[in-house]
Structures are given as C-alpha cells and as structure tokens.
C-alpha cells in the first residue's frame, strides 16, 4: 500500500433508505473526484452495490456540471439505491469475486459507499476483501441516515433535515389541532426502528410553544396503561393532547406495539413497521371517547428537501468531499464522521472512524436525555439537536416547484 494518490477510476454508490441530503454527500464525492487529476473516471453505481455486481455504472464525467449541482437540493438517491445484504466473504465470496472483476475491468481504485449501518457493513467487507486479495482500492464510507444511529459520529447526514421537517410539521399541526374549543388528541408517528432521534426532534417545536405534550421513544419500554394515563392527564388539563411516538416503540418483552400490523420484512430482514399511529389512536379513542387523529409522517419525513437544513446540506457535501480527499491521501477502510463542539456556538470537525467499529453498531438516544417518566426528552437533547437544523435550503424553484436534478445516466460499456 502507498500513501501516494492511486491513478484509476472511482465508484460512488448509494444504499439503504434515502434522505433529503444523501445526494449532497454523493455530490461532494462526485465533484471532488471529478476535480482530481488522479481519478480518471467517476462512475455512479446504479442501485448501489447491485450496480457494481450487474455492471451498471453511469459515467458522471458525462453529466452537465450545473445539473449535477442540483444534487445538493434533490432528495432520495439520484444514482438509485438498494437493500442488498452482502454475504460474509469467509462464507461465500461469489459477490466479492464479481466486484473484483468489475473493479479490475474499469481499473477502480476508489470506492465510496453512501449509506447507513448496513451499508457501512458492506463497505467494510469490501475493504477487507480488497486488502485480503491484495487489490489496491481505497474504500470509504460516506454516512447517511435520517435515523441518526451510526456509531461514533456526533450525528449523521440526513438526520438534521428530517428533524427540521418534523419539528416544523409538529409546529404546524399543533396550531391546527388547537384551533377548536372542543378537545382533540393527535398522535404523530415518526420513523425510527430502534433509535428515537427523529421522534425526539419533535421536542424542538416546544421551544416555540407549539410542540408535543408527550414523546415516546424506543430506547425505553412502552407501557400502554401508562401511555393512556399520560394522555388522559394532559387531555383533562388542556382539553387537547399532541403526542409524538416512534414507530419502534415496544413492550417490555421486546415486541413492537405496532406488531399486529406488521407484514413482511425489508431486504435486510428488519420487520416493516407501520400503522402504529392509527393503532394508538383507536386505543385512545376507546379509552377516552375523545376525538382522536393518528398521523404517520411516513416517507414525507425522509424526502422533504424543500425543508432541508442548510447545516445538514453543507455537512453532507463536506463528508463526501473529505472522503475523496482522504482516499487520495492514502487512507482506506474509514467512514467520515463529525465531532462537534457546542460549548460556545457550534463547531463541526470532520473525523475518520474505522469501518469495523461503525458497521452494524447502533447509536441510540442516551437514556439520561429521556425524562424519568419516559414521556419526554431533556434540555440536553434540545442543546444537541437545535444547532443541526439551522439555515434554510437554497433549493431553486421552477414554476413554483423544486428544481430536482435530472441525470443523463450514460452507462459505461
């Protein structure tokens, strides 16, 4: 291995559930790679690692630079995503041999993988395989996940924009559901299987006096009787109650509260959740007789680029940029992450984490940031999260609607 820049092609792939800013990270990789004199061609893998396995590589050099820049403000994965669980190379190395074949075919010496926990695992396995077989390729993880659960980093690109949308939507719905003098209970379900970061973000709306009365996270056990008692108490006091609840709340035995509604699993074997808000709404309606409405933020929360955080966009871009710069400097097997200082203002420093440490480890909301009653979060969470949602997107509009990127998608032969 050498510290000198390798001469060869780069591949960038996107994986897992998309976010409002995953394309900002990919653009950070693509733009920096296109500007490098050592990187001969920049390929976008169509649908993540499946694009490599299927030899579906888009030539990013052939895209219009002005159009590419719109990736900063376009949600979802512009290159296409996948949910593909790669095998353990010691058990089955078929995929790895194929990846190596493609890497050799295009002389790929840089591989950047843009995704969450499972994607960092994929990235790590490829990195270790390349090292094992002596193929010189610098492999970097570029983090993404609205779930904010990647190990080590202060926070994850994508989380802040979803948090901003959630807090904004809670403020708006709070105004809406307080409009009548007859009472109403409103239950809003946020994403987060095992980590409650997104649901906790609803608390930011309370800073403005328009937030949830009760917040339930999956970090602690959910008690239906206590939940009903909480709602009844707030409703009796205020003739109104706004609840934020994570899709992943579970009983003490570990079973998901939503589980009767569970159907099927995603490609990684996770149970697909949904319908929790409606379920809790019917429980509360039966228990209180109040007017109750359940709202599921569903996909909206992870693609609302029109409400993205400028801080998130900038940090997402930079994490892609720094991945390329670090790889050019000879580093491999790492993920770019953030180390933040909030002691006076907010400072974000970019640091590198070993992929081995990151892969498949989930970072949850600290238990000490959850109130003793398990129905709210503390000021510590607010202090942590608020700096991340600052700044408004500069997304261009055409005809009063967002101007998203449209790639030519010219594939390599």
């Amino acid at each position: 291995m050498t510290n000198k820049p390798l001469i060869g092609a780069a591949v960038i792939g996107q994986s897992g559930g998309p976010s409002s800013v995953i394309n900002a990270s990919a653009y950070g990789v693509i733009k920096t790679a296109l500007e490098s004199e050592y990187i001969t061609t920049v390929y976008g893998a169509n649908h993540g690692i499946k694009g490599v396995l299927n030899d579906r590589l888009m030539i990013m050099d052939k895209e219009d630079p002005a159009e590419l820049e719109k990736m900063l403000y376009t949600p979802s994965s512009a290159l296409g995503s996948c949910r593909y669980k790669i095998a353990d190379p010691d058990v089955d190395d078929t995929d790895y041999k194929r990846i190596l074949e493609i890497f050799k075919k295009y002389n790929v010496r840089y591989f950047f993988y843009n995704g969450g926990n499972d994607s960092m695992d994929t990235c790590n396995k490829i990195s270790r395989y390349c090292a094992k077989v002596g193929y010189e390729c610098r492999v970097f993880g570029v983090p993404k996940t609205i779930d904010n659960d990647l190990y080590g980093t202060d926070h994850c690109p994508g989380f802040a924009s979803a948090a901003k949308y959630i807090a904004t939507s809670f403020m708006e719905v709070s105004r809406d559901c307080h409009v009548y003098d007859v009472g109403m209970v409103t239950i809003i379900e946020c994403m987060g299987r095992h980590a409650g970061w997104l649901t906790a973000a609803a608390s930011l709306a309370n800073l403005k006096g328009d937030g949830p009365d009760l917040i339930y996270l999956p970090e602690v056990d959910f008690d239906m009787d206590q939940f009903i008692a909480d709602v009844k108490r707030v409703y009796a006091e205020k003739k109104n109650c706004l609840v934020a609840v994570s899709e992943g709340v579970h009983y003490a035995d570990g079973s998901f509260v939503s589980e009767a509604k569970t159907s099927g699993t995603d490609g990684f074997g996770h149970a697909q959740l949904g319908g929790l808000a409606a379920r809790l709404a019917s429980v509360v309606k039966a228990a209180t007789g109040a007017k109750v409405r359940g709202i599921e933020l569903s996909l909206l929360q992870r693609c609302a680029s029109h409400c993205a955080s400028a801080t998130d966009i900038e940090e997402s871009f930079n994490s892609g940029k720094i991945a390329v710069e670090s790889a050019l400097a000879g580093i491999t097997g790492k993920m770019v992450g953030f180390k933040c200082d909030r002691s006076s203002g907010y400072k974000c420093e970019y640091v590198l984490f070993d992929l081995t440490d990151v892969a498949n480890t989930e970072q949850k909301v600290p238990l000490e940031w959850i109130t003793p009653e398990h129905n709210g979060v503390t000021q510590d969470f607010i202090d942590y999260c608020l700096p991340l949602i600052q700044g408004e997107t500069r997304q261009a509009k055409e005809d009063g609607l967002p101007a998203f990127v449209h790639l030519k998608k010219i594939f390599a032969e």
Copy 2:
C-alpha cells in the same frame, strides 16, 4: 341603509377547518379595519360565531402591530375556529337574538366571517337576520377553503398553498419511491370530500417528471376493479406506480370507498373520512403481491405554511382588505371572490358575490378536465392551477423554525 361609512366596531371570526393562509385573510381584515377612522374597535371572535354567542371577543387594537403581521405566515386560525351549524332563523332565532344582543352591546356595525361553505351560510343568515330586524350591520364573507369548492370564485384562498404543498410532496415522494430497482406501489390520499381539486393538484408534479401515474377524484364514480387494473398495468410497465386519491372517492351507489373505516361525523353532519390510503394499499397488495405503501397527507396538507404560495398569501390578504373597504363603502351581504384571466400571464381581479348564491353550493372539478379513463386530469387543470402556486413564502424563521404569531388575546369586558 346608507352608503356612508357606519361608525362602530368590527368583528372578525374564523370558522371551519383551518388553512395555511386563513390568518392572512384575517390579517387583511384586521389591518384594514384598524386603519379605518370609522371603525372604533376591532374585535376577534374567539372560536368563530361561538365567540360572539359566548361574549368572548379579543381586542385586536391591543395587539402589537409587528406581531399581528406574522399572521400572514402562521397557519391555522389564530382567533380560534369552530364547527357550529347555526339554525334557520325562521325555525329557531335564539342564536340570532343573542348575536344581536352582543352586536348592540359592543356597537358592532361590521361583521366579517372567514371560512368555507358552511361559514358563508352562517354569514348569510346573520346578514339576512340583521336586515330583517333593521339592525344596521355590514356583513361580509371572506372566503377560505383548501377544498377550493366555493361557488362563483375562480378559486379559494388556502387552496393554492395546499396545492403547492401537495405537488411538492408528490415530487419528493416520487423520487423516494423510485429509488429501488424492486417495484413499489405508493398510494397517497389527499383531502376533499366531494371536490377533487387538492388531489388533482398532485398532477402539477408531473410537469417536472415526478408526479403520480394515476389520479382518482370524487367527481366521478370509483370502480375498484378498474382501479386495480390501472395499477397493475402501470406496475407491469414501470415496475412502479404512484397514485393520488381523494378521500372522498365513492362507488356508483354513492357510498364512500373508505366507508368501512368511517366513524362519527363532524359538527356539520359530514361523515369523517380517513384510512382510505391504507385500505386501498391492502387491496392492491392482495391483488398484485407488490410492495405497497399507503400515505395519508392528513392535517399536514392544510397547515404547511412553510410551503405556502406567495400568490395565495397575497390574494388571501387582499380578500380581507377588500371586504373591509367594500363594507366601509356601504356594501353588505357579499363574499369577496376572484375573477382570473390566464389568457396572457395571470391576472386576478377581486369581485363580490351574493352570499345567498355562495352559501352551501359546491364547485367541483369540471368533468371535462378529468380524463375519459377517470384516472387523471387534463392540461386544462394544469393551466388553471399552476399560476396559483407561484412564489415562495417570506415566513420569518427563528432558531431554524417558523416564527408564528403569538397573540396577547385581551378579551373585552
């Protein structure tokens, strides 16, 4: 009756479901009334006509003008809303006697009611009662409804902002649900009991290549077999299908497709709808085996002020302003509406409609704007709707979140 300005107080009330810009209209009334030398005091009725009946009038003169201006960018009804069906005065005049008592108590000579169909009916009844008993009070309807179904006017304040949010959200979700190379059917439910304007607005996203494949409106009968066939066809072609459906779609016998989920009615006796997206999703899943997701935009679509149309905000403000100016000029029993010219650019003229004509008449999407297959809308709708969503809100932000109005709410003795 006289054409000279009456000297006395004004009352503004808000009624029905809120919108992103109903406060912009109320602000148009309040600001213009506060500036008038003839209007002695401006009262905000707390929770619409119930605020009058309960003698709960807020003195708007005592609010800070800079704070009041935030009403332009604050969703929901800042004065509080109600769903109160007032009796026919010929059958039961109890409420009217009470209203007259309050009007006399505060020397109310101007009454502005800000709402939709039912509110225009209330407004009309009060206008006729005042005339009948010879109490000189100028009564004006200031329109509001995201449903866009008020008779006579080209469109309704509130519709355009909801339409902009819906089209934007469809663009975003379209990107999100096209991210994998495995197929997915996504069904998004929009509000609209009897009129499909909001659901039709999803079609604007198609201008940008990111819109729904199929659109179902309540103006025509819904055929479940045809719906399943439509989805299957699109899914077979594209491995993907995005559907926009109105909450109010109904079978040929008039029964709502969602009706098994119906529970209770709102205060006006309308069936409360909901759960249609989930219902259709399970039908499609059973019929196709595809991965299917149902999303209900729910309250989000009527309060998303962060995505409001600047055109809508301006027109909403102006409709309140013109109501006051017209009342001062001696006119009564009217609703402010719009007459628009789209022949070269977009011009909006403010016109007055008789409340008697407006009350309880619904304006639906013209049948000739719906495709013969009943699963889309024509260019006529696009040409109609697109000018309305132009321009971005200038909503101020604090801490990265919207700065909503906070009224002091000082009540008259």
